[in-house]
């Protein structure tokens, strides 16, 4: 059953189009992760879903509810942990949770949330005195106080040390066992792989790929990048690229000057065909290489961008 449906979202700011066309469905109870390079439109997309911004086109429905008609009811059902840990610095952990609890018709007890985010010992501490990881856990706690069905976590682990990250993972997995739906963004592929049921890769305001982490990795590990550099100028590369594109084993191609890149699921077969062509034409190939794909390449393969900014 899909609990959130996003259809054809679009958002422009003057001449800049931040989100071109984004559609996906999130199933109840799953951890749904959105990844993408900086400027891909992740934050804009999330803010539209969270009701902070109005899309120029497209529709967002939470279990049949829309922002236009049921804003308050949606707010009762979602919890948000924004990227900036926005809370009241002069209040203690407990006081922050107490205050947020009054905003909602039903809420979990503060003690219960403190236990879940493992801050019971620090409940009398003011936010100012918390470490980065503790602050982030409190931010998640504030998002959980209303016992929401859907919780949005926007880069909850960015800037945290490995132990603090692991603590956050535990919370996310706990939410999953409670049957909650989590929508997560992250910069860490490892995290996406470990936690997500499905991963949605976004680039330039569009969904590039959406699948389970295993399927995505499988798809990518099947692909190999083959790199050929020609001695006889660009036209050799251009002609070879055209031939390669017609091969069924080649997924994608790219060319820069005399260097040609091919992504193929069958490197052996692809090279056999390509070399047949170059021999026939008499093109001389200066360098040939086949690269193994790492997880980082998965991302680059889809977006053509570096993983981290």
């Amino acid at each position: 059953m899909s609990i959130l449906e996003v259809r054809g979202l679009r958002k422009t700011y003057g001449p800049i189009t931040a989100v071109h066309d984004i559609s996906f469905e999130v199933q109840a109870g799953e951890v749904f992760t959105i990844i993408g390079p900086n400027g891909a439109g992740k934050t804009t997309t999330l803010e539209m879903i969270e009701g902070l911004q109005e899309p120029d086109a497209g529709a967002i429905t939470f279990d049949g509810l829309t922002w236009a008609k049921d804003a308050e009811r949606i707010k009762f059902r979602i919890g948000v942990q924004p990227q900036s840990s926005a809370m009241f610095d002069l209040l203690t952990v407990e006081e922050n949770l107490d205050l947020f609890a009054t905003f909602y018709p039903k809420s979990r007890t503060t003690a219960e949330v403190l236990e879940m985010i493992n801050l019971t010992e620090h409940k009398k501490k003011r936010v100012k005195a918390l470490s980065g990881g503790q602050k982030q856990r409190l931010a998640i706690g504030l998002g959980m106080i209303s016992d929401p069905e859907i919780i949005f976590l926007d880069e909850p682990t960015t800037g945290l040390d490995p132990q603090a990250r692991r603590n956050i993972w535990d919370i996310i997995l706990k939410l999953k066992t409670m049957g909650k739906t989590t929508i997560l963004t992250t910069h860490y592929m490892e995290e996406a792989e470990k936690l997500s049921d499905r991963v949605c890769i976004v680039d330039q305001g569009r969904v590039v790929s959406l699948d389970t982490p295993a399927a995505l990795i499988e798809r990518l590990t099947k692909e190999r990048e083959v790199r050929l550099t020609f001695q006889d100028g660009e036209e050799a590369a251009i002609a070879t690229e055209q031939v390669a594109q017609n091969q069924p084993t080649v997924v994608r191609t790219a060319r820069e000057g005399t260097t040609l890149q091919l992504w193929t699921v069958q490197p052996e077969e692809t090279l056999y065909g390509v070399f047949g062509f170059t021999k026939e034409r008499g093109y001389r190939v200066e360098q040939v290489s086949i690269r193994e794909m790492s997880l980082e390449d998965v991302f680059i393969a889809f977006t053509g961008k570096e993983w981290r900014d």
């Binding site: 707010k75 947020f100 609890a101 009054t102």
Partner: protein
């Protein structure tokens, strides 16, 4: 659903904690006005005219009956304190003046037709209040002496007395105390909205918009806490002014409450307006400081505005603090009550400032919310 009342109580409690846990609030709203007031009280509030004393010595160069009579009359002047009861040589007087042991030396007339009385003061202190006052006193003395010598009875006499409409004993201390109370309340409003800028910068505004929190209740509880702070400010300053410096208050409660209420709202609205266009804490503080600085000197906080040149008086009459401080004085020292046209004019001007500032601020906030990405 959590009832509005409970939500409001929680928000109020949280706002109280946040307000009084912030050291800056204590400093700028409580300690700073107290320090400023104490300094002004000590410098300007201590001397009534009867306390004025100038230390002098007299130099006599010749012996004559006229000179002795003058000397006897000079001894009658109460504000002169004599370094030496007897006349001293000129060289001794010069030395005392150089060492600032005395404020002035009076040289009695010598022989000759024109009888000149000379006043000798230190060049460094030539233009200070004491030298001026001694010179004034001496001038008057000479005039009287001349008239007496000519056998003329003065036709007119000046008798200066200050009055206030309600009480007989309005002093500079009362004026300054109420001025400082108005100033600190205005500061509280002008600077108090800086937390909105911080909330926006940290994304807390956005965060709260994602909850079903009622913004109206939030604003109301925050404003109520500002009133609590205001009452606290009035109490602190009034207690220190009355007990520490001997100021007198004639409080008319309804007038005081009305002036306090409308003034606090107006200055908080101005703070709100500043917060609506300030992107950073520094920008906010800059604007608030300029506003506070300008108003501090030309709104009649430290001295009455009648002394201002006309063009500046016109500026002063456009500023809200001018009316706020007058309104508070109506309720705290003048004892004139609310039934005066001036009081309601002040209320109207403050209400206009508050309304315009609030509306403008709201428009700017809405606009920035729409363009923020």
């Amino acid at each position: 659903m959590v009832s509005g009342g409970k939500q409001f109580r929680k928000m109020f409690g949280a706002h109280i904690k946040m307000m009084f846990r912030e050291k800056q609030v204590w400093f700028w709203n409580i300690f700073f006005p107290i320090i400023l007031m104490s300094i002004f009280m000590v410098i300007f509030g201590s001397g009534g005219s009867s306390d004025f004393k100038a230390k002098i010595a007299v130099v006599k160069t010749v012996q004559s009956q006229d000179v002795d009579r003058l000397l006897a009359q000079l001894h009658q002047i109460p504000v002169f304190e004599w370094k030496s009861e007897q006349p001293v040589p000129a060289a001794q007087a010069d030395a005392w003046i150089r060492a600032k042991d005395i404020d002035a030396a009076i040289q009695l007339p010598g022989s000759g037709d024109v009888k000149t009385i000379r006043l000798i003061v230190n060049k460094e202190t030539q233009f200070n209040a004491t030298s001026q006052a001694v010179s004034g006193v001496l001038n008057q003395f000479i005039q009287q002496a001349n008239m007496a010598a000519a056998g003329v009875q003065p036709a007119f006499r000046l008798d200066t007395s200050a009055i206030s409409s309600g009480s007989q004993d309005l002093s500079y201390k009362d004026f300054l105390l109420t001025g400082m109370i108005a100033f600190s309340l205005a500061q509280g409003g002008l600077f108090g909205m800086v937390d909105l800028v911080e909330m926006r910068r940290k994304g807390l505004m956005k965060r709260l918009r994602m909850t079903p929190m009622r913004m109206g209740l939030y604003g109301l509880s925050s404003m109520l806490v500002r009133f609590v702070l205001g009452v606290f400010q009035i109490l602190c300053l009034a207690l220190i002014g009355v007990l520490g410096f001997g100021a007198h208050l004639h409080i008319h409660i309804p007038t005081l409450i009305a002036a306090f209420f409308i003034g606090s709202l107006a200055f908080n609205a101005i703070g709100y307006l500043i917060s609506s266009f300030s992107k950073s804490l520094e920008a906010y503080m800059g604007v608030a400081n300029i506003a506070s600085f300008v108003m501090m000197f030309i709104s009649g906080i430290f001295y009455p505005i009648n002394n201002l040149p006309n063009w500046l008086l016109a500026v002063s009459h456009a500023l809200p603090l001018t009316y706020f401080v007058e309104g508070l004085r109506d309720g705290m020292v003048y004892g004139s009550g609310m039934a005066t046209a001036d009081f309601w004019l002040g209320v109207a001007v403050l209400a206009a400032w508050g309304t315009v500032a609030y509306l403008l601020g709201s428009i700017l906030y809405r606009r920035s919310k729409m363009t923020s990405s």
